[in-house]
Structures are given as C-alpha cells and as structure tokens.
Amino acid sequence: MKELRSFFLSPFAFIVMALFAFINAWLFVSTVNAMRVATLPYSLVYSVFASGWFWMGFLFIFPVITMRLFAEEKKTGTFEGLMTAPVRTSEVLIGKYSAAVTVYLAMLVPLFLFFPIFKMVTEQEGAFNNGSLWGSMIALVLVGFFNLAIGTLASAITANQLIAAMLTFVGVMLHYFFGFFMGFTTLPNSKWAAGMSYLSTVEHMQLLSQGLIDSRPFIYYLSFSVFILAITYHIIESRKWRI
C-alpha cells in the first residue's frame, strides 16, 4: 500500500504514465489511418500491438515501475526497519510485487479503452474481433507478470535505482528479442529453434493478439514469474549471511 501511494505521488511516474498513454494513443490513431488507405492483413488489435513503437514504450515502463521497490529502501536504510519488523520476507516480497502489478494494471486500463471507444464511435464492427482484444489483454498481463518479476529481482540485487532500472531493461529486452534471433538462425525448424521461440515474448504475443489462446503461454509466464520471485526471495534472505 505504501508502494502504491508513493508511486502515484511521484511526479516522475506521472510523466512516464502520460508518455505511455500518449504514445499508445498516437500509435492507435496512425494505425487506424493506415488501415483507411490500405487493407492490412491483420486486425486492428494485432496491428497496434505488433508495432515496434508500442514495444518501445511498453518495455520502458517495467524499469520505471520496479526500480524503486527494494533499491531505494536499501539506499536510504529503511530496508533495515522493514526487515526487522515482525513480517516474513515472503510477505514483504509479495506485498511489493503486488503493488507493482497493481500499478501496471492501472496503466493498461486506458490502452484497452481505446478499442471499445473506437468501436462505439465508428460503429465499425469489422475492425477487430473481441477474441483478439481479449487475447492481447491476457498476453500483456502475462508478459507484465514476468517482466515485473524481473524488475523486482533487479531491484533486490542493488541499492542503486539506476542500475536496477538498467538491469531490468536489459532483462526485458533480451527476453523480447529472443524471438527476433530466431529469424536469423540457420536451422529454423530444429528442436533448438522451437525451444528458443518458446522463450520469446514476441512469439507468444503474436499468437495471442491474433486471438489464438492456448495454455502454453500461461504455464510459461506464470511459472517463470514464480521462479524469478523465488530467486529474489533468496537474494533478500542472503543479506543475513553476508560475510
């Protein structure tokens, strides 16, 4: 609860959120325009989310949301007060992670309002189908869980917010670009390639925003998020044994 409050009160956070909403709005409008002049092969939803612009803005929000979680407390020393309160480490971790998830979900709300509003205003039924909208929403939420876990981990490693932000960004980017590497590999159909593409954000996202929902991305993102949070837990605990 404290995290939520301090995040929404920080001017920096507002700028980032506004920027994110703005980029998305602009992106949305330009995609709609593009569809007017030429028929795109995919639906509106897919076109918006497949755009590089969207991803640029999207990947930036994770470091911003998570960089302060533990790093700032370590820097100012409030970490000591937090960890010596009669609260379990797991409770602290879950509290902080949930706060990050809440902030993230709040940021997604305007994005998904564009589509129904567009539909209402234009009364154009064919622009996209509800399946692909739901699919994209689920995909963004799942990817968000995963990326926020990466950010939480990065913030627990260092007392420097900037380093935490950079680590998060690198982590999120690497994960995102796994998919692109696959395009260059010489063995596109090998098992190895299939495994790699399973690890890529883009792959899952593309399937989902085309409205194809299957269980693999759920299992994948949720289990990896839990795994990364478990590592984070051990890193926080390890300070006790610091030698």
């Binding site: 404290k2 301090s6 020393g77 007060g81 010596t84 309160a85 300070r239 044994w241 610091r242 030698i243």
Partner: protein, 318 residues
C-alpha cells in the same frame, strides 16, 4: 530479557563480533558502549534478526533469534543507527504505516499512534512531511516508531548521534522515562550518556567484550589503582627513585614544569590510597611540595583504560 551466548560475526577477513556473551534483565536500562567500529551495530543487527550470527546464539524473551525470528521481532522496538525514515511520508502516516506493518490491528492503530506521538512530543509536526523535519524531530519519529506497539524491549542504536547538547538532554530524559515501562538496550560511544541514563554498562572493543558492570563499579574498580599527582622543587632524580621504591607503585611519570619544579604522575595498582605514604616520605626527605592530589578517576578513564590495553595488545591478536 536478552541472553547472548558466544555470539560471533565474521565479515570477509574481519571479525566484527568475537565470542561475546552477556545478559540483560527485564526492566534494566543497559548502555552498550564502545568506540566507532567496535561491533555495536553488528551485535544489535544480530539481536534484531537483520543479520545471522556466524556462530553462537542469542535469545530475546526466551525466543531464539534464528528459530523464532518473528516472535523475537514482535518483542523488540528497534531504532536503527542514523534513523532511516521515508522522507516522502507525513509523520502520522509513517507511524500508522509502521504500526500496521508490525501487525497492529486497525482498531488500536489510531490510539497507539496517538500515544506514541504524545510520548515523543510530536504533536506539532504530525502532519508534516518527514523530509522537512529537523534532526531532533526525526530522531523522535524513529523513537515513536520503536515504541508504537508497546514492545517489552527497546533497542536503540546510537539514539543521540548528531543531536545538539540541548536535544541530547531532552532525549536522555525521555529515555529515562521510558525505562519505567520498557527494558532498554542502547548503544553509544558517548560516555556521559551512559553515566546519566544507564543502570549498567557493557563495554565492547574490537569485537570483544571488555566489561559489564554499573558505571559506579567501573569507576571504583579503576580507582583501586588510581593516580596521584605530586609536584616538588629540586632533587627530582632522587625523588623519582624514592617514589618508585614504595610498595604498590606501578609507574611514575615525571614532567618539568617551571624553574626547579617537577611534576610526578604516580600510578598504583591493587593497593589502596598511597597519598599518606607519599606525604610521609615528603616530610621525611624535607621535599618542598606545592601539590599532592588524588586524581579522581571518571568513567572516561575506566573506558579509556579498558580500550587502551586492547590497542597495546593488538599485535598479538594479528
């Protein structure tokens, strides 16, 4: 209340706390005294479950710090060194947040925070941002946080560090008052603080326990040795050897002051007051003396003594 047994903490290539054992009874105000880097904060961080000991054990109110960490933490109100706070919160809001974090129910929260605010005289600033507070107020916010859940034990790490003399005096009064309701374990490197507030002193230096006693006893123990100052005119060489022959004298330092006058600093060990014997000697030898005085030992002397011996023995420890 606190039982510490052979507690040891080793950082990389550095023994910060070395085989320390002591006890603190319920209701005591105990000062944990030592120079900077002695290992006070490290010991306290083990007691508050922030760090795990390399070896040894400790328990608070009967609960082991490693096995029953949550129960241990529930009994402690802890004010860490330098009093870290969230600068972007208001005082009231901060205390409510901390009290809730420590498991206070929302019903008792308002009353509890109100009481802590009252005790620490924070009424005027309770709606101010912590970032805008003076050092003295921040310290009191830290203390209010420590006692908001009315824990049995208060552990305060250098609570008066960075305060001005006036604020230190106020803080001391506050701590004395709190001692009526809580057991208090406070660390400090400032002596007067201990002398005036604490019923007992535990002295630590270079990670090792040096003494555990009342301030009065520590001073008395030091006095058994005690220093004498003697100032006389002429014959300093003969006087020196005569003094050294007195039984019980352990060392004599001489210092020429003015023309013809010499000042001796005589230290004795294990014998009661030597001043009578020195006086008799002066009469017998017809020394012209203008001062024979006993130098009253203070807790500071006792402290410097305990710590000094250690520095001399540093080579042997490696």
């Amino acid at each position: 209340m606190i039982e510490v047994s052979q507690l040891t903490k080793r950082y990389v290539g550095h023994l910060a706390v070395d085989n320390v054992s002591f006890q603190v009874e319920k209701g005591e105000i105990v000062g944990f005294l030592g120079p900077n880097g002695a290992g006070k904060s490290t010991t306290i961080r083990m007691l508050t479950c922030f760090l795990t000991p390399s070896s040894g054990t400790a328990s608070i109110g009967g609960y082991d710090i490693e096995k029953d960490s949550i129960k241990v933490r529930r009994q402690i109100g802890y004010m860490p060194e330098n009093v870290p706070l969230y600068p972007d919160m208001r005082v009231n809001e901060y205390l409510r947040f901390r009290a809730a974090l420590k498991g206070m129910s929302s019903r008792s929260l308002t009353a509890g925070v109100g009481e802590a605010v009252e005790t620490c005289s924070l009424n005027e600033v309770q709606n101010k941002m912590i970032a805008t507070l003076s050092k003295g107020y921040r310290q009191r916010v830290g203390l209010a946080d420590a006692l908001v859940t009315k824990p049995d034990l208060l552990i305060l790490d250098e609570p008066t560090n960075g305060l001005d003399p006036q604020q230190i005096r106020q803080f001391r009064e506050l701590i004395k008052d709190l001692g009526k309701r809580h057991t208090i374990f406070l660390s400090t490197h400032i002596l007067p603080e201990v002398e005036m507030t604490c019923g007992r002193v535990i002295i630590i230096n270079r990670g090792k326990l040096k003494a555990s006693d009342t301030p009065q006893n520590l001073v008395r123990r030091r006095l058994e040795g005690g220093d004498l100052v003697l100032e006389l005119n002429g014959h300093s060489g003969k006087a020196m050897s005569a003094i050294k022959e007195i039984k019980g004298v352990s060392s004599v330092l001489e210092e020429k002051t003015e023309k013809g006058w010499t000042r001796f600093k005589i230290t004795s060990k294990g014998t009661p007051d030597l001043s009578e014997r020195i006086f008799d000697l002066a009469v017998e030898r017809k020394w012209k003396i203008r001062e024979l005085a006993r130098h009253d030992a203070t807790l500071e002397d006792a402290f410097v003594d305990l710590v000094k011996h250690d520095i001399a023995g540093k080579g042997a420890e490696g």
